[in-house]
């Protein structure tokens, strides 16, 4: 205490002597809080080390979720990929695994994500464009052909159709002779952020939540190594909110999912260890690292104190993190390699479990092979050449970082409390107030870029007159669509239509009742029912979501 007092006095004198003339204005955080010139021990005077900071692998997990962190195992280098036909995606996956990638991450085409089959006239232009097209189990069999599902983990960026894709993945595993108990990976399955920011929602809110509850319940007994939801703050951030709201919206959504599972009488410790999170990493290194640490501590406290979790695994906020693509520029695309490197460094310094680095050409196109390799190499260089992963939470203890971590946690709690006061996040989604808040953020930050207040190098400052580095645009044609509809036709001709109709009827029956929908959905995919047919059966019972504009 005596030492703190001395530091405070000295700081006062130092400040009077050196900072009095105030020839500079204070720096601000990205959310508008004034910063001091320097941070010292006395800025952390109310911190109780053992209670508030602690040790890695121990409550409140501020310093990481594993005791040995990356000494135990490196993070999973997981590049998001998938395009065109299932055959092309299979070749790409095999090549990524050969280059040392450790887990797969499937990008699905929009029709598959939204529940339209390739032969639907509405989607002719979009089949296989932003990701691989999947209509039936046949397509999933091709995507994973020759890839042993008990040896790898797979992450699926799939939301309202997650139950169908999960059922197909289980079916592929069984065909390989692998038990569902052995397969692992992550379903994105975070429907709330679709309404808020990503836009692939199909059904109204309540039935969508029921589907998520069904997946949690089913996986608990049948696919215990599957992370059932990847709760995303990332997409709201990409859509325009700030980093405080990113965590506040993400954790508020997470609470809704926990409550949905609890309503079914499942014990919190039976499903919470299989929740994971996806938050973004920006270039603002200290803020972003502090943000992720704060999120870990806050989630641990929520699980322990609010939901009474006993198992430490339930309190761990396990993190998948990716570069904020919105910070990538289409001007001078090579600069994005630098941005991606800083963001990946953020993810490592913050102790993420899996990391995706955005390819430098992604502001324009599906990444070229060269750009994808560079993104993976970025991660490999950080791990193998820099040694920043040598110790757990290497930035922990920095006065500034710890101060920021505390401030961000407070701010996030403030936003979460405000959401609850206004009736909860579901109400905020239903009345569109959260969406409007996100758009407001996007508009304000765009204005700051346009008036030069926020500098983006190569875009609004140091703009080069030189010729742009040429980006290879991924060529597209109708061939994927044609192949896909011809395979779909073939599958439909071969399958037993009577069994398909029975299975779809069973889905409608269960949807109207309360039993677990995963059971009839699994039966239907095994009969080669299509994603579109299954979604239509569900729509007949659930109806469709109407967007608020």
């Amino acid at each position: 205490m005596d030492e703190l007092r001395k530091i405070r006095e000295k700081k006062k004198r130092w400040s009077a002597r050196f900072l009095q003339d105030k020839k500079f204005s204070p720096a601000q955080t990205s959310w508008g809080m004034d910063l001091n010139t320097v941070y010292t021990m006395d800025d952390l005077s109310d911190v109780d080390y053992l209670k508030d900071i602690g040790f890695p692998g121990d409550f409140p997990f501020l310093r990481g979720v594993y005791p040995s962190m990356y000494r135990g195992r490196p993070w999973t280098m997981r590049q998001y990929a998938g395009y065109g036909t299932p055959e092309e995606t299979n070749t790409l996956f095999k090549s990524l695994l050969n280059q040392g990638q450790m887990g797969l991450s499937v990008a699905f085409g929009l029709p598959t994500q939204i529940g339209f089959d390739s032969d639907n006239p509405l989607v002719e232009d979009e089949v296989g464009r932003v990701g691989v097209a999947v209509d039936t189990l046949k397509d999933m069999e091709i995507i994973f052909e020759g890839i042993p599902l008990d040896k790898i983990t797979t992450s699926f960026t799939i939301n309202p159709t997650a139950s169908i894709i999960l059922a197909m993945y289980i079916a592929v595993a069984e065909k390989q002779g692998v038990s569902p108990k052995q397969i692992g990976g992550t379903l994105q399955n975070d429907i709330l952020k679709e309404y808020l920011a990503r836009g692939t929602q199909i059904f109204p809110l309540r039935p969508s939540l029921r589907l998520i509850g069904d997946i949690i319940e089913y996986c608990k007994d049948n696919v215990p190594r599957m992370n059932t939801i990847s709760i995303c703050g990332y997409h709201m951030r990409e859509a325009g909110c700030n980093l405080i709201q990113e965590i506040a919206y993400g954790l508020s959504d997470a609470i809704v999912y926990v409550e949905e599972a609890l309503k079914r009488g499942i014990n919190v410790d039976e499903f919470a260890p299989r929740l994971s999170f996806l938050f973004g990493c920006g270039v603002n290194l200290f803020e972003e690292v502090a943000k992720l640490r704060a999120a870990r501590r806050l989630w641990a406290k929520i699980m322990k104190e609010r939901f009474g979790a006993n198992n430490q695994e339930s309190m761990k906020l396990r993190l998948f993190s990716g570069c904020l693509g919105s910070a990538f520029t289409s001007k001078e695309p090579l600069n994005n390699i630098v941005r991606g490197t800083i963001m990946a460094l953020v993810a490592v310094l913050a102790g993420c479990q899996a990391i995706h680095v955005t390819s430098y050409d992604e502001a324009y196109t599906i990444p070229s092979e060269e750009a994808q390799r560079t993104a993976l190499r970025t991660q490999q260089i950080i791990f193998y050449e820099t040694d920043v992963a040598a110790v757990a939470d290497p930035m922990g203890g920095s006065y500034f970082l710890e101060y920021l971590t505390n401030k961000i946690e407070e701010e996030v709690q403030g936003v979460m409390a405000q959401i609850e006061e206004r009736g909860g996040i579901l109400k905020g989604i239903e009345d569109g107030s959260i969406q409007r808040e996100i758009t407001r953020g996007a508009y304000e930050s765009e204005k700051k870029i346009q008036n030069g207040e926020k500098v983006i190098v190569g875009v609004n400052k140091f703009v080069s007159e030189e010729k742009e580095y040429p980006i290879q645009i991924y060529p597209t044609d109708k061939s994927v669509w044609k192949k896909q509809i011809s395979r779909l036709k073939e599958v439909k001709a071969k399958r037993n239509q009577r069994l398909v109709d029975l299975a779809l009827g069973e889905i409608r029956r269960v949807a109207a009742g309360k039993s677990n929908l995963m059971v009839p959905i699994f039966s239907a995919v095994c009969e080669y029912a299509t994603v579109g047919e299954i979604c239509n059966a569900l729509k007949e019972v659930f109806g469709e979501y109407k967007e608020i504009v």
Binding site: Q113, D125, R198, S330, Y364, Y474
Partner: protein
């Protein structure tokens, strides 16, 4: 005399196709409202037919399409064709989103009046509309 020309114009901002990225569409809609225009935003997943119908019913002066999923050529061609078939080929069409530089001219050849890739200033878009 040009008073009529200075009145706020009605603008339709539309999201065709399945792309759910509406940040740009909403931000541009907000910026245009702030600039005094009357803006109608369609929401996500509009078919070409729906957009053309809305444009005609709402008697808009400009249609702005926002597309970030790489299918701007296909969707824009369909939309321009449908507009012409519906006797509304005089409504100018602008396209915003992730548009590779090589596609700008191609879109203009299809009949698009303005192309505004991600990062275009609001001023440029406002000037474009005022000068149509």
């Amino acid at each position: 005399m040009d008073n009529k020309e200075r009145l706020p114009r009605r603008i339709l901002i539309a999201k065709p196709g399945l792309d759910g990225h509406d940040r740009g569409a909403k931000v541009v809609a907000t910026a245009l409202r702030d600039a005094g225009f009357e803006v109608i935003y369609t929401g996500l997943r509009q078919t070409v037919d729906q957009i053309v119908n809305t444009a005609i019913q709402e008697d808009v002066d400009v249609i702005g399409l926002s597309i970030l999923s790489g299918v701007h050529m296909e969707l824009t061609k369909r939309l321009v064709k449908k507009l012409r078939e519906s006797g509304a080929g005089n409504i100018p069409v602008a396209v915003g989103g992730v548009i590779p530089p090589g596609d700008v001219e191609k879109l203009k050849e299809v009949g698009v009046a303005g192309v505004f890739s991600v990062g275009t200033s609001f001023k440029k878009i406002v000037d474009f509309i005022r000068n149509i």
